[in-house]
């Protein structure tokens, strides 16, 4: 294991963190996400299925939220809606106070590029290009010139402890390292929310711990993080847990941290 990586990810939270776990999450911070009676319906085999059934949700800046639930509970649909990959059938979605409900695909692409950093279970790196190239990619769609893209991407990779792996191709990296590249790619655009979908699902438990520690660290630095997961210990790691069942929020509680 690369010693530099350990250095970049401290084991325990520092007690004097300015914005973090020791403060209540609602303390006057602005709403990043507001879902107002959001409905998402699918028609399957002639039967209407409510993947999300009039969901209300409010997530403030710098919250560290786990969205959990059994398979078919509406987690993935929730993630697609929150990530602006999909549009609700009914209700409103305010992202940073702006209504994104009625936007078209190109406008949603721009919102995703500016506001959302995706982290996927299977990493979803582009196999043909280096880790640096992968992290530079989202800035391309923002029209950032090549030299600046390179500078920002290098910074982001250094931040996740991969400063020495810039030119490696995805298949030359371990699972944990690939997920770090994906996190760097999500961070490079300085998004409002980091949206992780089962980020540790493809990793062994010790690598998963390291990734979660990286999330803790990012949260302490002020990042709003939403983790979609079905694993209870990952959910327990987050500060707030939202549990879905049959398209409704059945539990919404703060973890004692």
């Amino acid at each position: 294991m690369n010693p530099e990586r350990h250095a970049a990810v401290p084991d325990a939270p520092a007690p004097d963190t300015p914005r973090g776990a020791d403060r209540p999450p609602q303390a006057g911070r602005k709403d990043v996400i507001v879902l107002d009676r959001v409905v998402k319906r699918f028609v399957m085999g002639g039967e209407e299925l409510r993947a999300l059934d009039a969901v209300d949700l409010r997530i403030r800046q710098n919250e560290y939220v786990a969205v959990t639930g059994a398979s078919g509970s509406g987690k993935s649909t929730m993630m697609n809606i929150l990530g602006c990959l999909d549009r609700p059938c009914d209700g409103r979605y305010l992202l940073n106070g702006a209504d994104v409900t009625g936007l078209n695909q190109n406008e949603l692409a721009e919102i995703r590029n500016r506001e959302i950093g995706f982290i996927f279970q299977s990493f979803n790196l582009i196999p043909r290009i280096s880790s640096l190239g992968n992290v530079m990619q989202p800035l391309l769609y923002r029209g950032v010139v090549h030299a600046e893209r390179k500078r920002l991407a290098t910074q982001a990779l250094e931040r996740v402890g991969l400063g020495a792996r810039l030119q490696h191709m995805p298949n030359q990296l371990s699972g944990g390292q690939r997920q770090r590249v994906a996190i760097a790619r999500a961070l490079v655009t300085t998004p409002s929310i980091l949206l992780a979908d089962e980020p540790t699902g493809n990793l062994d438990s010790s690598t998963a711990d390291q990734i979660m520690q990286l999330f803790d660290e990012l949260h302490k630095a002020g990042q709003t993080i939403i983790v979609v997961t079905h694993e209870p210990d990952i959910a327990a790691h987050c500060h707030r847990v939202i549990q879905l069942k049959d398209g409704r929020i059945v539990q919404d509680y703060q973890n004692a941290h």
């Binding site: 590029n113 500016r114 995706f118 979803n124 790196l125 582009i126 196999p127 043909r128 769609y141």
Partner: protein, 410 residues
């Protein structure tokens, strides 16, 4: 501009990642373009050497030959030009600076006559003509002299030969003074003419020239002989008028009724050249049309591979869309990939076609005149159109993918 540069960069990356497949994909285009360019090379070379050939004949020249229509041929009536026609023109038409009869031996169908020299036997074209022929055909003797007026008047048994005849009969470098046998009659060689080289792989130096009257006495049967008349007009602008006068004169002398066709033809090298050019152009357009079809097939090949590639990269497209790629980002990347494949194919095709054209020119022994700019422009233009047209469908398919579906694609 930024998007264009970045999309070209991405397209080049992706082509570079699958070099061999890219090559196979553009093979149809390569072959199509190579055939167009090779063809144009060959045709240009050919028509260049034909043009030079006709220029060698002199542009002020007119050739009068007998002409028998198909119906007349069937009834066994063959039109002829005879020495009286020649005399008539000589006496009654002004503005002619030189005129000569040419008698072609019609011993056999290929108009070749048997020759022999020492123990060697061979065939060549034997023509009977006068000293004026030298001026009309712009021949220069290397050794000895051309035929003279006195050769003709005294029916001397002399001959002038071309370089090709000297070589194939195995004569010495200076054949003047040697004797050859033509159809059983011995004649003395008095001159060797400067070689004119090949046209279409056929030697222009394969001839034996005899004095007109000598030839007539050799083949006998004077009334049956058919001659050609070559003449040079003094002033090219008067050529049309001279043609009309000759036509009237010959029609009257041949006692043709008003409703009958001419039984002779008056041709100028320019006329032959322009009808040749028309013919060459027709062939060019036709073959370019044919090759265009092969380029279309090449384009369909590119579309096919691009569709496969879009399928294969569905997940990647999903990723790009998730991290903020808009429709036009994806569209442009795939469209440019198809276009670059086509242009690269076009470039390789041009080089390959030029190589084939050069080899063909070498093999067929005519000078290469190079690839004209219009052919290169045409090839690139066509290939670009093919790239855009056949790249559009796969690119649109990629751009219209739903990011959620694409991300879930395995």
């Amino acid at each position: 501009m930024f998007i264009l540069v970045e999309s070209i960069r991405a397209a080049l990356n992706s082509i570079n990642a699958h070099r061999f497949r890219a090559f196979l994909t553009s093979l149809g285009i390569i072959v199509g373009v190579a055939s167009i360019i090779a063809l144009v090379c060959v045709i240009q070379g050919l028509s260049g050497s034909v043009t030079r050939l006709f220029q060698g004949l002199g542009t002020n020249n007119l050739a009068i030959t007998s002409f028998t229509s198909n119906e007349k041929q069937l009834s066994g009536q063959f039109a002829r030009l005879n020495p009286e026609d020649l005399n008539l023109i000589r006496e009654k038409v002004g503005g002619i600076s030189a005129i000569t009869p040419v008698l072609i031996s019609v011993a056999n169908a290929s108009s070749m006559s048997a020759l022999s020299y020492s123990s060697k036997k061979g065939y060549s074209r034997v023509l009977g003509t006068t000293y004026t022929y030298q001026k009309l055909s712009q021949m220069v003797p290397v050794h000895g002299r051309f035929l003279t007026d006195s050769d003709n008047r005294t029916r001397r048994r002399v001959a002038v030969v071309g370089e090709e005849v000297r070589q194939k009969m195995g004569m010495p470098a200076n054949p003047v003074g040697e004797y050859i046998e033509i159809n059983g009659e011995w004649v003395k060689i008095v001159g060797l003419m400067e070689p004119k080289g090949d046209a279409f792989g056929v030697s222009q130096d394969d001839y034996v020239l005899l004095p007109y009257d000598t030839m007539q006495s050799l083949i006998g049967n004077q009334n049956q002989s058919d001659i050609q008349i070559l003449l040079t007009v003094e002033d090219l602008t008067a050529a049309g008028e001279i043609r009309q006068r000759i036509t009237r004169l010959l029609r009257a002398s041949h006692k043709l009724e008003d409703n009958q066709e001419d039984d002779f033809k008056i041709q100028s090298p320019e006329q032959l050249l322009s009808s040749f050019s028309d013919f060459i152009n027709a062939i060019t357009y036709f073959t370019i049309g044919m090759v265009s079809i092969s380029l279309l097939v090449g384009g369909i090949g590119i579309m096919n591979i691009m569709l496969v590639s879009v399928n294969e990269r569905t997940r990647e497209i999903g990723i790009c869309k998730a991290i903020g790629a808009k429709r036009h980002h994806i569209l442009l990347q795939f469209l440019l990939e198809a276009l670059i494949l086509c242009l690269l194919g076009g470039l390789i095709g041009i080089l390959l076609g030029y190589g084939i054209g050069t080899a063909a020119a070498h093999a067929m022994n005519f000078p290469l005149s190079g690839v004209p700019a219009w052919a290169i422009g045409l090839a690139f233009g066509f290939v670009s159109v093919v790239g855009v047209v056949f790249g559009m469908l796969p690119a649109a398919k990629a751009a219209n993918l739903d990011p959620i579906v694409a991300l879930r694609y395995e």
